[in-house]
């Protein structure tokens, strides 16, 4: 059992995405990181996908599982969402399963830590 796994996720064309320590880290072209500026590299990738009219190979979904919270932090911007209960277990599992059926991205495990 590994704590985290490093992956290269194939995107499209010459692009891959490095997942390191379980975190999405950098976009590579022909295996070479696009640059030290992470924001610029992700922006460049997104723009070239749109320019080519390609279907996005989405690799990450942020799933809002509940609006409820047991704390009332003074600054929280999510306070307006407290009343949203979210889907039930079966519904959420359907959503998660539905998100995997897109064939959006495949991954090659390159190393395990």
């Amino acid at each position: 059992m590994t704590a985290t796994t490093d992956h290269l996720v194939e995107l499209d064309g010459p692009y891959t995405l490095a997942v390191e320590g379980g975190r999405i880290r950098r976009v590579c072209r022909d295996g070479v990181p696009l640059g030290p500026d992470l924001t610029a590299s992700f922006d460049e990738y997104a723009r070239q996908v749109v320019r080519r009219g390609a279907v996005p190979r989405v690799i990450k979904a942020k799933v809002l599982v509940t609006g409820a919270c047991n704390q009332r932090c003074f600054h929280c911007y999510a306070a307006a969402e407290y009343a949203k209960a979210g889907l039930d277990t079966a519904g959420l599992v359907r959503v998660l399963a539905g998100s995997t059926t897109a064939g959006c991205a495949s991954s090659n495990s390159t190393a395990a830590t």
Partner: protein, 312 residues
Amino acid sequence: MRVVQLHGGDLSVRRDLADLLAALDRLDLFAEFFTNGTGGAWKREETFAAVGRMRYRPVVAVSLLGGTAARHDRLTGLPGAFKQALATAHRLRGLGCPVTLAVTLTAGAAGEVGKLRTLAAALGAALSVNAEVFSATGGAIDTLPFEATPAEILSARRELFGDAEVDRVEKTCASGVLSLTVDHDGYVVGCERNTTRRFGSLLETPLRPILESAEYREYTEAFYRRPAACDACPAELRRHCNWCPATPFNYGIPQAGWVDWHCATAMRRRLFWAGRADPVPGSRPAAVGALTLPSCSADTGCRVGLPVIIPD
């Protein structure tokens, strides 16, 4: 899809968190989540057992509001929250999860950065600090007024935080292209900060047809086809919003006109604290709000000033 970020609210108020984590594992998905570390799920052994059974350990951020129990408990409104949050972080680290202490730091807690570094080091966790200093967006205590000038903000920043690294921002979501958001009801939206564009429910439709739809294509095209002039933005749009397509001034496209005040405050802070741009020298937000950038706005329809208009 490879990575799912569970988001709330706080996921630990769900009684079925262990079941959800098991489902993610069955589906061969990586999991990430933010949590306050104090919800009921973290009081049940079954939750930690589920984490321990996952092939890929979840990447976890535990939120803190300062480096002391007194401050954190007061600001969260939950006695004992600080101790419990750290206990949860400790358990998750023990299970091999990469953990970040994600700190929302008020001006009053500025002196606790060192303490937080020590806490993170003891846990083997990373430390991420997001400084909150403005008062007008529902955000902070002991603050600067939202109307502070850039010079006042920069001065306060140096006084409060010295050389500590705060507000380091890297935008790696490539919203709409590499990542998307699923709203509470199962509908796909482009970003959690702009849920007004909805593209179909994953309860009814697989993701692929949604991504292939003309509506989704139009959405991503509108966001990423920014004019070339924006790459040389005199107001350093790059620093202001990391070119975020979900921001309200998004290059004059039809979605503009919606303001997320949390986002707007953060963007303004980043712009000015970076010390790199002051669109109107010595200006206050109301003045910046009325700003149009004469060098390019005629071509781009840019509304870069919009996020810093005072709400009332």
